[in-house]
Symmetry: C2
Subunit: 273 residues, 2 copies
């Protein structure tokens, strides 16, 4: 498996440099010649939608995805409707920011009934998909690691995400493969192949041993046990040649100066992805 | 789904009251009229094998399982052989202690090659099974939560455990269903049904929100989101009517006086399992 020879597919997922505001993150990408950025809604809201769009466009950056829609299951019909309204706004923001991928973190169950919550997710995606299509935006279902099943998403395997996505046209709904969430899965490579034509994103970080923290414990590529190059190769064989987002929730990375973080990311990306 | 009407299937997994030594744990069970106990090898070693056997037998307790064999993958052939020798001793100890179930926590990979480690586990179980059979001991493959894939076990779903077990006679190799490890799995109930005739144990605790700690964060039944009664019903429908082990890694439970912990366990067991 060949290493990547350039950073032309590298995308900085904005959460990786969470201490930088929109303008600082954009400038850091430009200085580092990182051509892609993945935006988070809270950062966009902070800078303003129009200003975020201007900053990114003027810098010549491409937006690989907007993170995130989802959080569909809720205890009441009123709350579910509110979440759906918010998802429609997320679709509009994605379109406005010039990306065709809205990443879905589907949300936890409001109670013990995980099956019902999964059904709710299925229905919500079916409801959102036509709206997204009309805005030229695809919904990327990102399965989250099973350790987040109770708090962040009831969609926990690529098999589940594929089954959901396959109910829709590949132009409308696909999956996002995040190495940190799926690396442990004994079905991983079969499910990546199954996702052919539907992979809307590939995210990298690493699983360090021992895990320092449930949420903030993601490692820099190369610091952990994930076979990142093998996985990158597999998504390519399955037809994905788009941006590769570096998405690391890690306080040490957050505490690094932006330029330093980006230099390290570029180095590790070429070495390990 | 009917609640349990008695504690006649309740087993104290010894790790739940980790601060008690063998004699104290046995006495606490007797006082609480808990009829079963699940033993851990480090506790058995501490008390001595013969003395552990005597204590348990004199108290009239039944041993639901011995925890644990496994940890098969290793970096060198020498180390793998050492682990296999240790597993044979674990089988002998299980037989000596009067239980026919040795729980297998299969172990992590020594490097990034998780597929190879999984193959090693398969081969090791095939090697160990005839020895276990000759001692009247069954091997219970316990899938561990995917968050332990890098540090404790490369067997992370019930589907995987079933596939491994099905290579053997149901009299020799089966699976152990621990609610904490498998509750999130979208395939769970289908895989419990698939395990019919091979379920060698059912362990309960709970998944609390937010998760306080990766290893020590298991909750008391009823304090979390797991549908314990539904799962207990499913394993019964699949033919399992044996002991139900309460296995909780939780410092607060460890810090409770033994009698108090057992009183709470009995109460929650009848309420939630």
């Amino acid at each position: 498996m060949e290493p990547l020879r350039s950073i032309d597919r590298l995308s900085l997922n904005q959460i990786t440099t969470d201490r930088l505001n929109m303008s600082e993150a954009v400038e850091a990408c430009v200085r580092a010649e990182v051509p892609w950025i993945a935006l988070w809604r809270h950062k966009v809201a902070e800078a303003g939608l129009a200003e975020s769009k201007r900053l990114v466009r003027d810098a010549g950056l491409r937006v690989s995805s907007l993170c995130r829609g989802g959080y569909f299951p809720a205890a009441t019909a009123t709350e579910r409707k509110k979440r759906m309204d918010d998802n429609r706004r997320a679709v509009e923001e994605a379109a406005e920011l010039g990306t065709d991928v809205l990443v879905l973190v589907c949300g936890p169950a409001p109670d013990r009934d995980i099956d019902f919550a999964r059904k709710t997710v299925e229905e919500a995606i079916a409801e959102l998909a036509p709206f997204a299509r009309s805005h030229g935006v695809k919904l990327g279902i990102e399965p989250l690691h099973p350790m987040y099943a109770a708090e962040r998403s009831v969609i926990n395997t690529l098999a589940q995400a594929n089954t959901l996505a396959e109910q829709h046209d590949p132009q409308d709904v696909g999956v996002v493969v995040d190495a940190f969430h799926v690396w442990w899965d004994p079905e991983l490579y079969g499910q990546i192949e199954r996702a052919r034509g539907r992979i809307l994103g590939f995210h990298v970080s690493d699983w360090v041993v021992p895990v320092p923290d449930l949420l903030m414990g993601r490692g820099m590529m190369g610091d952990g046990v994930i076979e990142l190059r093998r996985m990158r190769h597999a998504v390519e064989v399955a037809g994905y040649t788009g941006a590769i987002e570096v998405e690391i929730f890690n306080r040490q990375v957050w505490d690094m100066p932006g330029d330093e973080a980006l230099a390290l990311i570029k180095e590790r990306y070429l070495q390990h992805v």
